[in-house]
Amino acid sequence: MEKYVVSDGNGGTATYEVERLAGGEVRVRREGSETWHVAQLEAVGDSGLFLLLLDHRPVELYIQGRGRNGAVVTIGRHNLNYEVERWRPSLLRRQEGRRRPKGAAEVTAPMTGTIVEVLCAVGEHVGQGQVLLVMESMKMNNEIRAPAAGEVTAVEVAPGQRVTAGQVMLRIRTVSSGEEENPR
């Protein structure tokens, strides 16, 4: 019997008990639940596609490893980012600390394209979801919105400029609950 802690990117964690069965099957139970599940995971070819058989239910997942203990699992339309660690008493407390959002946000280009319009300026306070920029890609204009409310601290692009995916376009100091503390 082993015990693992599975943490998602948003500070959610779950502890699992794990027991191996014959033939590659595994019995797992989420802490707090009465139900044991029978599971088996296998790669379908080398493409990253996996079949999970969970209580006789076949589930196709796409899994990308991230580092030693990480995995990004795509199920249906959802991309879920997990870290898995052997359970230790100290683990949960540390996980808690990670949950709080940082006080700063970067707005990065979601795709390669060209800036059409910049609709905010340094020092401006913007609301969550407010349109900050318009960029053109694939023959379409796309609105880039604020991920959180806050103050614009930097605008690093200008209309007509070509940007590549992932490039930082704006910086925002957020005014959400995360501001009070910033652990470590």
């Binding site: 082993e2 693992y4 599975v6 998602d8 779950a14 699992y16 794990v18 191996r20 590659g24 595994v26 797992v28 989420r30 599940h37 599971a39 088996q40 995971l41 296998e42 790669a43 070819g45 080398d46 493409s47 990253g48 596609l49 996996f50 999970l52 969970l54 239910r57 589930v59 196709e60 997942l61 796409y62 899994i63 990308q64 490893g65 991230r66 580092g67 030693r68 203990n69 990480g70 995995a71 699992v73 795509t74 199920i75 249906g76 339309r77 959802h78 879920l80 997990y82 898995v84 979601p110 795709m111 390669t112 394209g113 890609s137 694939m138 023959k139 379409m140 796309n142 919105r145 995916a165």
Partner: protein, 505 residues
């Protein structure tokens, strides 16, 4: 018949044409930009020529270069597909001047139907209803008089413009002055000409279009209608054949109107006449697309006609091998366009590498796609990745098969609109066929969170994956090449007995 045809396009439609050419035993010549060398349309063609860098104006829109390649390769004809040069009458003329057959209508027909005002006049001369509207107007008084005559709501459109630019909807007389002033300013700024025209705003309307094919001998055959009311930002997303509301009588009227317009424009080759259909079953001509349509497969599946093959045949001077009476229509077909846009992130286009593309198959499903594992989706072209068409004996049969197909379709690495399409297919309005062109504007994407069942499966999978409890030791190298440490660890694990970590405890 042609011996060799150059396909001046890319992606799924270029592949569609290459396949039709193979079916006709005609050699195909593909062209490709820097980023498309590995595309299926290149790989499945008989010959392939590089025509320039990724931006379309330097490759797929480069008339001179394409004609040069066609001559070098010894092609007899050029198929433009849709988009790019397909409706460019200068290109059609340049083909003719170079001794190449342009697989499409005559340049004169293209020019006539490409001009909004001339097309409208052509329709009127052919006794086809057009949307009530005015001539070009530049004074506020004239505009008001026209609006009063036509009746509110009206649309103000830039006379010199195109696309949605400068369009204003005016619901009542008191809104007119402000709207007209702004629209004229915009029109002047955008097109150098402030002239507007006033058009009746019809609402709610369906977008219904009629496919026609014509040979050089005056035979014009209408091949049924398509319902294309499911549009987002004027982009069709789901099309079907037939329309849920078109009965035999209306179909006949629509088809006759389409044929009259084609005849008035001296048209040959394939074309599509687009109409708006109002709730009182009146229809109005909008425009004629002088090319193959993206959504042509729905018509093909219901009628058994191969539009691409037949348009090549008529371009080569053959007579149409069937008339209207011989065409048997059967069942129902629905097409969904799969685009690289993220429905849960404001429909932002997504670019990047498709790690895995698994297409649906099975009875009643046809896929037109140029996807492959490893393809890079670039920002240079439109976001259409694939088209899925489902056929059934009736509309509900086609709809359920489409749902099955979309569920089977996997595209990993790039966000697509597949979940959005599945949502739309399940709305009561769509199921009832009760749709109009504003359907998607009113529809809110359901921002579905993973359900508990999915979350459990994902957590268990992450757990078994990272703990190495994967059956048979099929562990893949992590995609994240930056994490060499992980890769090394995996190799060590492999040496210690593969991924069957459990077996070694």
């Amino acid at each position: 018949m042609f011996r060799k045809v150059l396909v001046a396009n890319r992606g799924e439609i270029a592949l569609r044409i290459v396949r039709a050419l193979r079916d006709l035993s005609i050699r195909s010549v593909a062209v490709y930009s820097d980023v498309d060398r590995l595309s299926p349309h290149v790989r499945y063609a008989d010959e392939a020529y590089h025509i320039g860098p990724a931006p379309a104006r330097e490759s797929y829109l480069n008339i001179e270069r394409i004609i040069e390649v066609a001559k070098k390769a010894g092609a007899d004809a050029i198929h433009p597909g849709y988009g790019f040069l397909a409706e460019n009458s200068d290109f059609a003329e340049a083909c003719g001047a170079a001794g190449l057959t342009f697989i499409g209508p005559p340049p004169e027909s293209m020019r006539l139907l490409g001009d909004k005002v001339a097309a409208r006049k052509t329709a009127e001369s052919a006794n086809v209803p057009v949307i009530p509207g005015s001539d070009e107007l530049t004074s506020l008084d004239d505009i008001r008089r026209a609006a009063d005559r036509i009746g509110y709501p009206v649309m103000l459109k830039a006379a010199a413009g195109g696309g949605g630019k400068g369009v204003r909807v005016v619901r009542s007389p008191d809104e007119l002055e402000r709207a007209a002033t702004v629209a004229m300013q915009e029109a002047k700024a955008a097109f150098g000409n402030p002239a507007l025209y006033v058009e009746k705003q019809l609402w709610p309307v369906r977008h219904i279009e009629v496919q026609i094919i014509a040979d050089r001998y005056g035979n014009i055959v209408p091949i049924g209608e398509r319902e294309c009311s499911i549009q987002r930002r004027h982009q069709k997303l789901i099309e079907e054949c037939p329309s849920p509301v078109v009965d035999q009588l209306l179909r006949r009227a629509l088809c006759r109107a389409a044929v009259r317009i084609a005849r008035a424009a001296n048209y040959h080759n394939v074309g599509t006449v687009e109409f708006l259909l109002t709730a009182d079953r009146s229809f109005y001509f909008i425009e004629m697309n002088t090319r193959l349509q993206v959504e042509h497969p729905v018509t093909e599946m219901v009628t058994g006609v191969d539009l691409v093959k037949d348009q090549i045949l008529v371009a080569a001077g053959e007579e149409l091998p069937y008339d209207e009476a011989e065409l048997l229509t059967r069942g129902w077909a629905i097409e969904c366009r799969i685009v690289a846009e993220d429905p849960f992130n404001n429909f932002l286009p997504s670019v990047g590498k498709v790690m895995l593309a698994r297409e649906p198959a099975g009875p009643g499903i046809r896929v037109e796609s140029a996807l492959y594992d490893g393809i890079e989706i670039t920002p240079y072209y439109d976001s259409l990745l694939a088209k899925v068409t489902a056929w059934g004996r009736n509309r509900e049969g086609a709809r359920t098969r489409m749902k099955r197909a979309l569920t089977e379709f996997r595209v990993e690495g790039v966000a697509t609109n597949i979940p959005y399409l599945l949502q739309i297919l399940d709305t009561p309005a769509f199921i009832a066929g009760d749709i109009d062109t504003s359907f998607l504007d009113r529809y809110q994407v359901q921002p579905a969170e993973p359900v508990e069942e999915q979350r459990l499966a994902a957590e268990v999978a992450a757990l078994l994956y990272t703990a190495g409890a994967v059956t048979d030791g099929h562990r893949r190298e992590p995609l994240d090449r930056r994490s060499a440490a992980s890769s090394q660890w995996r190799r060590q694990m492999a040496q210690l007995g593969g991924g069957t970590w459990w077996r070694s405890t």
